[in-house]
Amino acid sequence: MTIAPERLEELEGQPPQHGPEPTGIFKWLTSTDHKVIGKNYMYTSLVFFFISGLMAELIRTQLFAPNNHVVSPQTYNELFTIHGSIMLFIFAGPFVFGGFANYLIPLQIGAPDMAFPRLNALSYWLFLTGSITMLLGFLTASGAAAFGWVAYAPLSNSTYSPGAGPDLWIVSIALVGFSGIFTAVNLVTTIFYLRAPGLTMFRMPVFTWNMLVTGILILISFPVLTAALIMLYADRHFGTHIFSVKGGGVPVLWQNLFWFFGHPEVYILALPYFGIVTEVLPVFSKKPVFGYKGLVFATLAIAGLSTGVWAHHMFTTGTVLLPFFSALSLLIAVPTGIKIFTWIGTIWRGNLDFKTPLIFAIGFIVAFTMGGITGVMLASPPIDFYTHDTYFVVAHFHQVLFGSAVFAGFAGFYYWYPKLTGRMYRENLGKWHFWLTFIGFNVTFLPQYLLGLRGMPRRIAVYGPSDGFTFLNEISTFGAYLTAIAFVIFLYNFWISWRKPIPAGDNPWDGHTLEWATSSPPPSHNFHKLPPIRSLRPTWDMNHPEHADWKHHQDETATKKVNEKEKAL
């Protein structure tokens, strides 16, 4: 079941017989290679990120001035619904557990491919078709779904949301959901069964650990969403009354089902990005990760707790046990705090090299800490009653999710870009991208906290001139445009690195984990030769034998033994 370095050397002489590999579009259609599928996932979700980002710019343009009429109220509702749905279901999740995880997990654990390569290909096609289905709604006569990404009953039933658009939304989420479940099965199996010899569970990189936990969370939560979608569809078309009061159903049941999926989903989106940051920080601080086991157990604790807090989104419904859900939500802050301290501990007194991935990772810590602290505030029912469904909540979750999916996501993208392509991006442009994003992001979302505290409700298309929201909305819109400019710079960086490549070499960052031990981009089936795995940082040990981690451990155990002997005497 495992791969031996010696056997790989044999293989080098006789590579496996595959016949001629297809190229071009046929490669895209037929490949089962995790690297090709991972890249497909990444680029597809990035395209949808830009589409959804344009929708966000339209939303902000509409809110720039009071009584503005850039788009109609109906279109506005469609825009924020599809913006949220794309960002959560199609960009933030699949970008990392379809893209990064697919590409990197086999490399980080020294495996030739994912455990089920064909299932992997199928889940990409379900993801792509599901994403396209989401956009098809705009082409129908009744327009796209307009009930918000949470689709609360009874707004989402056939009376208030008629037409094909909402049905397309349901089908789209179902397809993307199945794709996610297949990917999760693949990830968990790969991590359990395809690790290289000597790579015990507690020698796995933190990114791999986080993906394992994410996979388990997906398996717990996604089926609940799929079941809820089927019930919603039955309510809309088959005359059932699961979510309608009229037939004896319970509308709040939808919220329970949705958030039982929805809150773990938030951590499904966040945990992988925590993993990316934990990969980037040690490499650019030239130190091993601080508190490895603490980080792993904090991840497991977050995962467990996240499944017990779904009703904190429903405090104002009056049907939930407030102290229980409030206490568990506050508890999550403890393992999350442990993580933030281990990140700071990792860069503390490190030999910091401020390359683009590192500054993005630090930007993530700043953004996520701000979003996390306002999350702790919202976990307390008295504050939540006051701010629920205001821009305070909008600012909170954008800081958390933009913080993780964009800052940590692009930290990872810049960090692994040389591995993906064998080329180096332009460092200057990367820094411009970071600073414009960071300033734009804060200028966009910090005023929204104030707007929320002044009582601006979310999801309104127009506000009046006497409401006192005008100035802060203008600042927020200005910030959104600044962020858009930052992403134009990113696209230019991407384009110029593609047209005028600078070769990056196999290990430009002096990386720690196994993916840096192979060539860039890696060959078919990933490794010609694996370094021996004796510690958490096999590639570091190979490149710096005099400072190898396992030697350090040996010395430590030796001194321990000597001390014990002395004590015994």
Binding site: M1, T2, I3, A4, E6, R7, E10, P16, Q17, E21, L29, T30, T32, D33, A111, P112, D113, A115, P117, R118, A121, L122, Y124, W125, L126, T129, T133, A164, D167, L168, V171, A174, L175, F178, F192, L194, R195, A196, P197, G198, L199, T200, M201, F202, L212, I216, I220, V224, L253, N256, F260, L300, A303, G304, T307, G308, A311, L321, F324, H525
Partner: protein, 132 residues
């Protein structure tokens, strides 16, 4: 194998704890079912993995100080390129669209799914090479 089993069982035990507290405190049976299901989802695969871990020797990836001569066997079986996942994906897509646009897309979609089932089965083992 033992650590893998402990992760799952640990999650399951955590959910048992939560569901007991939650049910006794709130008396809410509907939501408790979610937590019971989550507990089972942790405990069942966890016990299965643990049962295997007891019956087999530690695998090379479970041993910290593994040496080269302890390693043997085949890594796994990794198919090369194939068109059938794409065909199956398109079939699933068209079948799903039937819920919006009517049965006719499902008829085409089912055709895709059937051909993918047959094609995938036929091309399964002999053509691809196992990776040692």
């Amino acid at each position: 194998m033992r650590t893998e089993s402990r992760i799952y069982v640990g999650m399951g035990v955590f959910f048992v704890l939560i569901v007991v507290i939650y049910f006794l405190w709130s008396g809410d049976s509907g939501n408790s079912i979610f937590l019971v299901a989550s507990a089972l989802l942790g405990i069942m695969p966890g016990l299965y993995l643990g049962w295997w871990a007891r019956r087999m020797n530690p695998r090379p990836e479970d041993v910290e100080t593994v040496t080269a001569n302890e390693i043997e066997g085949v890594v796994g079986y990794f198919p090369s390129y194939t068109i059938w996942p794409f065909v199956l994906g398109m079939g699933a897509f068209l079948t799903a669209l039937a819920f919006v646009f009517g049965e006719w897309t499902a008829i085409i979609g089912m055709g895709f799914i059937l051909s993918a089932a047959i094609g995938g089965t036929l091309s399964s083992k002999p053509k691809a090479s196992s990776h040692k």
